[in-house]
């Protein structure tokens, strides 16, 4: 059996398994709370595993391994930043958010502010961040399927991207949040198991000596000791600080991570779920050392860049070498297994992102802005969410075809910069600043969102000799990651918008918000029985 057909069989097997779970879950999805928040019945540890599943995307598994395998030490900086980011979530956001929101990120803002403007702005930035994030996942999927099928050329990558799009829509339309929660859990377990196994086998190759792995990697890279020190990917301190800020602050602004805290019954469960996530994600990122340096030493620079010039295929290629090399049965089997794990990873993240963006559009924009929150029609809302999922999937597929050839971790780093610039200032000010107003929130979101996107577009990855357009001229903005400019810009815009307006109603409601967010008084409760469901719809906002 060739490695193509073997990997295909394994992949199909996994898809059948996950779709089975999704269909089972769809039978349990009946109400809007079920669709969006899994009935608030998810346990803390389950949510922690699901957060890890949502978080460890193609960027973590394919992207970081690729960056380390090509640039050594510098790639590992992504691993560090993406873990430490969870402290921002744990300490500043998770519990207060759990107590004050309901379905989407915008709920926290709408608590104090005028609903229509803040919900519109928040829906826009949720969709924006999710699409940038989705592009990266699609690029990873494209590279993976090209490798699996041994195909050459761009048409194959586009086909792969379209395939993921269809699967993702099936997930979201049938499964809703319970479905994606279980898909995340299954994927997180598979990913951890696959990575642990691969790391163990890599270490065994070097006689369980990390020393030998490091020195072999340094030699094989052709860079020597420079491979074990910073400087091969990043040479400018400002670029490093910019990236660092985006990574460490971005997670707390990611809508698809934030809404996971609504699936648990209490603030304590929210806290427990972050602790679980930190444990799982931290262990995973430490293991990226073995994936990256292992690939550098065993696969080699040339083979890695031949499969994908941005290094995205380093991990799967490493599995092939460990299993016995190209053409051997073990090599094909292990490549197929790791590729299936990577594919599951991408599918699960894509599903999580899509459901978040479509929920936000349906709940924040359609139900609360277009229909002005009157006569809540839950079925129509769920239908709008499903249509939105289709549209967002299509947009991401188109944009991903332009971003082919970029490293996946780098692309997700951009999504983090956008999230930290557009969402974090407004969330933090809503929770901690009494004076904050609707104008401040809307200005902060819009300036952060469009500012960061604009800086990417006029930066070196889109404009100029290394980019896509105006190859003859220099980029207008010198940094690859805009964080150091766009994040302070988002905060400054939110502050300025606030200082230029006054909103006594927001200040009054803040008094209520602080009691509620800290004590959990009046927070949304777990829905356990139809009786509880009836009570909650009786107290639902009527207009």
């Amino acid at each position: 059996m060739s490695h193509q057909s073997l990997s295909l069989s394994l992949f199909v097997l996994f898809v059948i398994l996950t779709l089975g779970i999704t269909i089972w879950a769809s039978r349990q999805t009946k109400t809007a709370v079920d669709f969006y928040s899994a009935g608030r019945r998810i346990k803390g540890w389950q949510n922690g595993v699901a957060i890890s599943g949502d978080y460890m995307s193609a960027a973590s598994f394919l992207g970081i391994a690729g960056l380390i395998s090509l640039f050594g030490y510098d790639g590992f900086l992504y691993s560090v930043g993406w873990l430490v980011a969870y402290l921002t979530v744990l300490i500043l956001i998770a519990e207060l958010l759990r107590n004050s929101g309901k379905y989407t990120m915008a709920d926290v803002l709408a608590y104090r502010m005028r609903q229509r403007p803040v919900r519109s702005a928040a829906a826009l930035s949720t969709v924006g961040v999710s699409i940038v994030y989705l592009i990266a996942q699609m690029v990873g999927a494209g590279a993976l399927v090209k490798l699996l099928l041994g195909l050459e050329g761009d048409a194959a990558a586009i086909l792969a991207i379209a395939g993921v799009g269809v699967l993702m829509i099936v997930y979201v339309t049938f499964g809703g949040m319970i479905g994606t929660t279980w898909v995340q859990i299954v994927k997180a377990v598979l990913l951890m198991a696959g990575t642990l196994l691969l790391s163990f086998l890599v270490l065994a190759k070097f006689g369980f000596s990390m020393n030998k792995m490091f020195s072999d990697a340094a030699t094989a890279s052709g860079k020597g000791d420079a491979f074990l020190a910073p400087g091969l990917r990043f040479t400018s301190t400002i670029e490093l600080v910019s990236l660092g800020l985006a990574l460490v602050l971005g997670t707390a602004g990611l809508p698809h991570i934030l809404i996971r805290f609504y699936t648990v019954p209490t603030a304590q469960a929210a806290r427990r779920s972050v602790i679980w996530a930190i444990g799982i994600i931290g262990s995973f990122y430490i293991l990226t050392t073995f994936l990256g340096f292992g690939a550098a030493a065993l696969v080699g620079h040339e083979a890695i860049t031949k499969a994908d010039k941005a290094g995205n295929m380093a991990g799967p290629l490493l599995a092939q070498v460990i299993g016995g090399g190209e053409g051997s049965f073990g090599g094909d089997l292990f490549l197929a297994f790791i590729a299936a794990v990577a594919f599951a990873t991408i599918l699960a993240v894509v599903a999580g992102l899509t459901i978040t963006a479509s929920s936000s559009f349906a709940h924040d924009f359609y139900a609360n802005v277009l229909r002005r929150g009157q006569e809540r029609d839950e079925q129509a809302e769920v239908r709008v969410a499903r249509i939105t999922a289709l549209v967002i999937g299509a947009i991401a597929i188109v944009l991903a075809s332009f971003a082919r050839g970029q490293n996946v971790a780098f692309l997700v780093g951009l999504a983090f910069a956008v999230a930290a610039s557009a969402n974090l200032p407004t969330i933090l000010f809503s929770l901690y600043w009494k004076r904050f107003t609707t104008s401040g929130a809307v200005t902060g979101i819009l300036v952060g969102l469009f500012g960061s996107l604009l800086l990417v577009v006029i930066g070196p990855n889109v404009m100029g000799p290394k980019g896509l357009i105006f190859k003859g001229s220099e980029p207008l903005f010198p940094l690859e990651n805009p964080g150091i400019v766009s994040i302070p810009l988002g905060f400054a815009a939110a502050w300025l918008g606030t200082m230029l307006s006054r909103e006594p109603a927001s200040e009054e409601m803040y008094e209520e918000l602080r009691v509620r967010s800290l004590t959990g008084l009046g927070a949304e409760e777990a829905e356990v029985a139809p009786a509880a469901k009836a009570r909650s719809s009786a107290t639902r906002p009527s207009g």
Binding site: S79, L87, T88, L228, P230, I238, L240, E512, G522, P541
Partner: protein, 131 residues
């Protein structure tokens, strides 16, 4: 502006309190000594803790940019200072998360639960009186 729709008060158990009533009720709660203490404890922990981990984290990226030689210095075998410093960030994150959850369980949870239950029973009593 004031007529724009907002979330109605959901602070009360019944959700049927009017906004003005809710604002008056929460103003009283906001001045409650237990609430003031809860908020004081929370702010006194979260901001210094955030400052600490942000400074510790950013120093890794700053040093990677400014002092690649120091970061590339081999301390033990092939283990560079930079790699060990990066690993220490993981340890730091685990420790801060552990300290935070211990602190929240002992210093925040009992106070928050106490306050929530007291406010809840007070609301039920108020409701009985008014009926």
């Amino acid at each position: 502006m004031a007529n724009e729709p907002r979330e109605p008060s959901r602070l009360t158990a019944t959700g049927r309190m009017s906004r003005d009533e809710a604002v008056t009720a929460t103003e009283a709660v906001g001045k409650d000594p237990e609430m003031v203490e809860l908020e004081r404890r929370h702010r006194r922990f979260v901001w210094p803790a955030t400052a600490f981990f942000l400074i510790y984290y950013m120093s890794l990226n700053v040093l990677a940019g400014t002092s690649p030689d120091l970061m590339g210095k081999k301390l033990v075998g092939q283990f560079t200072f930079g790699y060990l410093f990066a690993l220490s960030q993981f340890v730091m994150a685990f420790v801060v998360a552990w300290v935070y959850s211990r602190w929240a369980a002992t210093r925040i949870d009992p106070l928050a639960t106490d306050l929530r239950e007291r406010l809840l029973s007070q609301q039920i009593k108020d409701k009985e009186v008014s009926e």
